[in-house]
């Protein structure tokens, strides 16, 4: 419930709800310890948005337009993240990082900070981009824990792709179909909820 570092202040208890992608509107309000993760989104190699799930939305008694606004904000942030991903500064930053790190395949980059949300991005070796937004008040103790989060999300994505009945087809127009299964939502939510910070 409290952040483990000596320097950060204790974050307030927050009610977290989870909202799945635009087509579904199920909301679950639970009193859980503060989880800084605001949203997770996945974008394909060809810059097509595949998936977005938001967390950390205030309880269901508040106006749903506020929830919708927050959700829109997360969508915008994901799009902004794409620009930063391919900008030359970020590429050189990641190139420089990879020389200093032993593991060259797990570069989690802080893309930008906007509207009290820190946006982190991770590009897999296949070009898939995973974007996670963290609340600004959160202080990262250990880069490795953050990297582990991205690896878990990547694994979850792979499990879903492995399903022989999923339509993993580049020619299809509706890319949402592959990842909009309720099981994928549930698994991502499980990873987010269980993330030890």
């Amino acid at each position: 419930m409290t952040a483990p570092a000596a320097t950060s202040n204790t974050p307030p208890l927050k009610q977290t709800t989870s909202e799945t992608s635009v087509s579904q509107a199920s909301q679950v309000a639970t009193k859980t310890p503060f989880n800084p993760i605001q949203f997770v989104s996945i974008i394909s190699r060809t810059d097509k948005p595949l998936y977005i799930q938001s967390f950390g939305i205030d309880d269901t008694s508040t106006d749903t337009t506020e929830n919708a606004n927050k959700f829109l904000k997360y969508n915008f942030l994901s799009h902004m993240a794409l620009d930063i991903f391919t900008s030359p500064e970020s590429l050189s930053l990641r190139g420089g990082q990879s020389q200093t790190q032993q593991q060259t395949d797990a570069n989690v980059v802080l893309l930008f900070i906007q509207d009290q949300v820190m946006v982190y991005g991770y590009e897999t070796n296949n070009g898939l981009k995973i974007i996670v937004g963290l609340d600004q008040s959160f202080v990262i103790q250990d880069q490795r824990i953050l990297r582990q989060l991205f690896l878990d999300i990547h694994k979850c994505y792979l499990r879903t792709i492995f399903n022989p009945f999923s339509k993993v087809n580049d020619e299809e127009d509706d890319d949402d179909s592959v990842l909009s299964t309720p099981t994928f939502d549930k698994n991502i939510k499980k990873i987010v909820d269980g993330w030890t910070r």
Binding site: F162, N163, P164, T181
Partner: protein, 191 residues
């Protein structure tokens, strides 16, 4: 040595292994392609999987007997034990449990443990097509394999799925039923 120990030993030493993900993905592609080819006629897909399994079973039994060298079983109970402790162990590295013996000792249930190498990562797309959960038996090939293999040892059996975790049941259950023991027929002309 007990049967279980024999099985473990053979699996550890005597069996060539392949990557289980490759196996799972291959089988998954086969089933998905069959569904597409037959236009989601799941009864037909089940039949095809059963036929494929039957052909596999006819040949698999030879390898099984060569690897394990088991003698002819005296009772059907023994047969089912050999199937679960040796057969499944050697080829799939899982060990199903046997339950629900019928009164005459001629049929029993095989409960496949999770995780089942055939069905890892698989989810039936219920949202796209809800018939699939009612009609498709994903691991139907196993029924065919058992049927074919047992036929080659003169046991005429019926093997059917009763429950499947992929369909939402609590476990995966096969029903194995012995119809009759086939007697080798003496060819006409000899006596």
């Amino acid at each position: 040595m007990s049967r279980k120990a024999v099985g473990d030993d053979i699996w550890k030493n005597n069996v060539e292994k392949i990557n289980s993900e490759l196996f799972t993905l291959t089988y998954g592609s086969v089933v998905a392609q069959l569904c597409r080819d037959f236009n989601n006629n799941y009864h037909e897909v089940n039949n095809q999987l059963d036929k494929m399994g039957y052909n596999i079973g006819l040949r698999l039994i030879e390898e099984f007997l060569a690897k394990t060298g088991v003698r002819r079983c005296q009772t059907f109970k023994e047969t089912s034990e050999v199937i679960s402790k040796l057969g499944f162990k050697i080829f799939l590295n899982i060990q199903p449990t046997i339950e629900n013996w019928s009164a005459d000792g001629k049929s029993c249930s095989l409960i496949l443990p999770e995780p089942n190498p055939l069905t890892e990562f698989v989810e039936l797309p219920i949202t796209a097509d809800d018939k699939i959960a009612k009609e498709l038996w994903y691991s139907q090939i196993l029924c065919g394999v058992l049927r074919g293999a047992l036929q080659m040892v003169q046991l005429d059996c019926d093997v059917q799925f009763v429950k499947d975790v992929l369909r939402g049941d609590d476990r995966t259950e096969l029903r194995l039923k012995l119809n009759k023991i086939l007697k080798d027929e003496v060819p006409a002309g000899e006596d």
